[in-house]
Amino acid sequence: MPSQLVDKYFRAEDLPQIWCPGCGHGIITRAITVAIEQLGLEPDKVCVVSGIGCSSRAPGYLDFNTLHTTHGRALAFATGIKLANPDLKVIVIMGDGDSTAIGGNHFIHACRRNIDLTTIIFNNNIYGMTGGQYSPLTPKFDKGTTAPYGNIDRPFDICDLASGAGATYVGRGTSYHANVVTSLVKKGIMNDGFSLIEAISGCPTYYGRKNKKGGPVDMMQWQKDNAVTVTAAAKMTPEQLEGKFLIGELKNKPEPEYTKEYQKIIDNLKGSDI
C-alpha cells in the first residue's frame, strides 16, 4: 500500500504517472493533495479540471471529480461547473503554454470575474508534451525546438498578469518548495474568489537538456538557490535581487465573488417569474 496520502487521494492503480524522471509535476500534484487533506475537503465535492499538456494529466491520477478538457480551455469549463454548482470546490491545473498562450483569454477573464476557482499553473517554461517548443514563459534567449537560435519573445510574469487582471489571491512556489505550494493552495482554496498559484516546475527532459541546465537535481537546486521569500526580498537591494524570483503570497485582496453576486440576482428576483 502506498502512503496514506497517496492511498486516500490518488488513483494509485494508474501510478506511476506518465511524466519523465525528475519532472516536478508529481511533486506539485502531491502538494495540492496535502492542501486538500489539511483543509479536510470532502472528496466528492472536489472537482479538478485541466487543459492539455503535461500538467493536464495530473487530474487523471487524482480521486476526485476530474475533467481533462481541451487545450487552454480548462478555466472556461471550470467556470461553467462552478457557476452551475457553487457547492463544488473547483481546482484548475494548467501548464504555462496552456494557460497563457492558447488559454490566455480565458485566463485574464477568469481573473477579472473573480469566480471562486483555485488555479495552479505548473510552469516548466516549455511545451513538454509536444517535445520542447518555447512557450510564453520561456525566458528570453533560452532555447526551444522552435527557438533554435534563442527565444526573442519576452516572457510573461504569470503572477503579475493574474494580479493585473484582477485575481484576488496570487502566490508563487516551486517544486523544491513544495510546502510553500501547499500553503498557497490552501489559502487559495480558502479565498472566496479567483486564486492563482504559480508553481515553478523543472522539465529536465526538454527545457533542462535544451538549455544545459543539468538534470532533475540541478533544476531543483536552481529553484532553491534563486527563490527569495517575499519577507527576505523586502530587506534586499535590487542588485541582490538580480536574477532571483519571489516565492510566497504576492496578493491577498478579497473582493465580491462572482457566483455569490449572481445568487444575489436570483434571490432578488424570487417569485417574479411571469
Partner: protein, 377 residues
C-alpha cells in the same frame, strides 16, 4: 389552464422551448443574428433559479455549457457562422466525452464575417463535418417559430437521451421572423432526462454503454468520482492507447446515432402521394416551397414537398423510396449546394435532381421555385 397564445420571434421561441425542456444554464457570446437568444436567456434564467453567463468568446461559451452539463444541468449555447466555426473544437469534445449540450446556430451568410444580418444555409455540411475525426451528429432544422419551440425541446431531449451535443440549425429568417404561436402546457410536453446511475460508486463504469449504446451519466458532486477526458478512453474513463479500445469507442459513438436512427429521424411530407416532382427543402426555404406548391398545383402540376426536420442523420430511406416514383427532385438551398449532395448520392439512380441555389443574402422566393420547376418540366 388554457394554452398561452403569443406573438414571438424564432429566437425567443428557442429560449421558451429551452426553458420548457428544463434548461438551467446558458453560456454564450453575442453574435448576430442569434443575440436575442442570449439576451432573453439572460433575462429569463435567473428568474427560474437558472444561470446565464456571457463568456469571453465563443469557445468559452460552449466550454462553460459543457462544464455546467457535467454537474447535471441542462445547458445551451447559441451562435452564428463565425461562432459556429469557433465552437467546433468543443463540439468534438462533447461528442467523445459524451456530454449533453444544445448548440444553436442561427445561420447567416459566410464565409468569415460574410453577411451578418442576412439569412443563409451555408453551415449544413459544417454541422456534419465541422469538428475533426469521426463522430456522431444530430442536427435539427426548424422552419417556423412554433417548430423552433418544439425542436429546441427535442434537441434537449435527444442530447439527454444520447449523451451528446445536438445542433439546432436555424437561419436568420426563422430566428427573426415573428409568428403567433400557442405555447403548450407543461403537461403536454414530453421531457427526457439523462439516465443516472444508482449503483454503488465503486461499481460505476462511466463509459460502459447500456443496451441503447448510451452509458449512464453521474453528476459531478453526486458521489461518483470519475474521470472525463477528450482522449480515447476505456469504460472507466481513463485514457487508453489500445487500438481495440479506440476502434470500439469511435464505432460506438457513431452507432449511438446510426442504430437509433428510427428514433431520431423526423421529416415532413406535403402532397407527395401523387407528386411527379418533389421539392427537397428545409428551414425557411421550405416555407417558400409550400407557397410554390400551391401555385403549381393550381396550374395542374403535381408537386410535393419533402422536408427533413432531422437533417443529420439524414432521412435516407424515405427519400430513396419517394425518388423511385417521381420524375424530378428540385433542391432549392440558400447555399451553393450542400444537402443536395446527400440527395444526389442517394437518389440519382432513381430520378433526376435539379439544384436551385442562392447566396446573395436574399431568401429564395416561391416564384423562383415555380420558375425553376416550369423550366425543367
Amino acid at each position: 389552464m388554457s394554452n398561452k397564445v403569443r406573438l414571438m420571434q424564432g429566437n425567443e421561441a428557442c429560449v421558451e422551448g429551452a426553458i420548457a425542456a428544463g434548461m438551467k444554464f446558458y453560456a454564450g457570446y453575442p453574435i448576430t443574428p442569434s443575440t436575442e437568444i442570449a439576451e432573453i436567456s439572460a433575462e429569463r434564467l435567473p428568474r427560474i433559479g437558472g444561470k446565464f453567463i456571457q463568456m469571453e468568446d465563443e469557445i468559452a461559451g460552449i466550454a462553460a455549457a459543457i462544464g455546467a452539463s457535467l454537474t447535471g444541468a441542462k445547458t445551451m449555447t447559441a451562435t452564428s457562422g463565425p461562432g459556429f466555426s469557433l465552437k467546433q473544437e468543443n463540439i468534438g469534445y462533447a461528442c467523445i466525452a459524451e456530454i449533453p449540450v444544445v448548440v444553436v446556430n442561427v445561420q447567416r451568410g459566410g464565409p468569415s464575417t460574410g453577411q451578418p444580418t442576412s439569412p443563409a444555409q451555408g453551415d449544413m455540411m459544417q454541422a456534419k463535418w465541422g469538428t475533426h475525426g469521426d463522430h456522431p451528429v444530430i442536427a435539427l432544422c426548424p422552419s417556423s417559430v412554433r417548430e423552433t419551440f418544439d425542436l429546441t425541446i427535442r434537441a434537449f431531449n435527444l442530447a439527454e437521451k444520447y449523451r451528446m451535443p445536438v445542433l439546432l440549425m436555424m437561419d436568420e429568417v426563422i430566428g427573426h421572423m415573428r409568428e403567433k404561436i400557442e405555447i403548450p402546457n407543461a403537461s403536454e410536453i414530453e421531457i427526457v432526462d439523462r439516465k443516472r446511475p444508482s449503483c454503488p460508486a465503486e461499481d460505476y463504469l462511466p463509459f460502459k454503454p447500456e443496451a441503447n449504446l448510451v452509458p449512464l451519466m453521474a453528476d459531478f458532486g453526486a458521489g461518483y468520482r470519475y474521470h472525463v477526458t477528450g482522449l480515447v478512453h476505456d469504460e472507466t474513463g481513463f485514457p487508453s492507447n489500445s487500438t481495440d479500445i479506440a476502434d470500439k469507442l469511435i464505432r460506438r459513438l457513431v452507432d449511438k446515432v446510426e442504430l437509433n436512427k428510427e428514433d431520431i429521424i423526423t421529416w415532413e411530407e406535403e402532397n407527395t402521394e401523387d407528386a411527379d416532382i418533389i421539392i427537397f427543402a428545409y428551414g425557411c426555404v421550405a416555407r417558400a416551397a409550400k407557397t410554390a406548391i400551391k401555385i403549381l398545383r393550381e396550374k395542374g402540376i403535381k408537386v410535393g414537398l419533402f422536408r427533413p426536420i432531422t437533417v443529420w442523420p439524414f432521412p435516407e430511406e424515405r427519400l430513396i423510396e419517394l425518388s423511385k416514383s417521381v420524375k424530378t427532385i428540385i433542391a432549392p438551398e440558400m447555399n451553393l449546394g450542400q444537402m443536395v449532395l446527400e440527395v444526389e448520392r442517394l437518389c440519382n439512380k432513381h430520378t433526376k435532381i435539379e439544384r436551385l441555389n442562392k447566396v446573395n443574402g436574399e431568401i429564395i422566393y416561391p416564384e423562383e421555385i415555380v420558375a425553376k420547376i416550369e423550366e425543367v418540366l
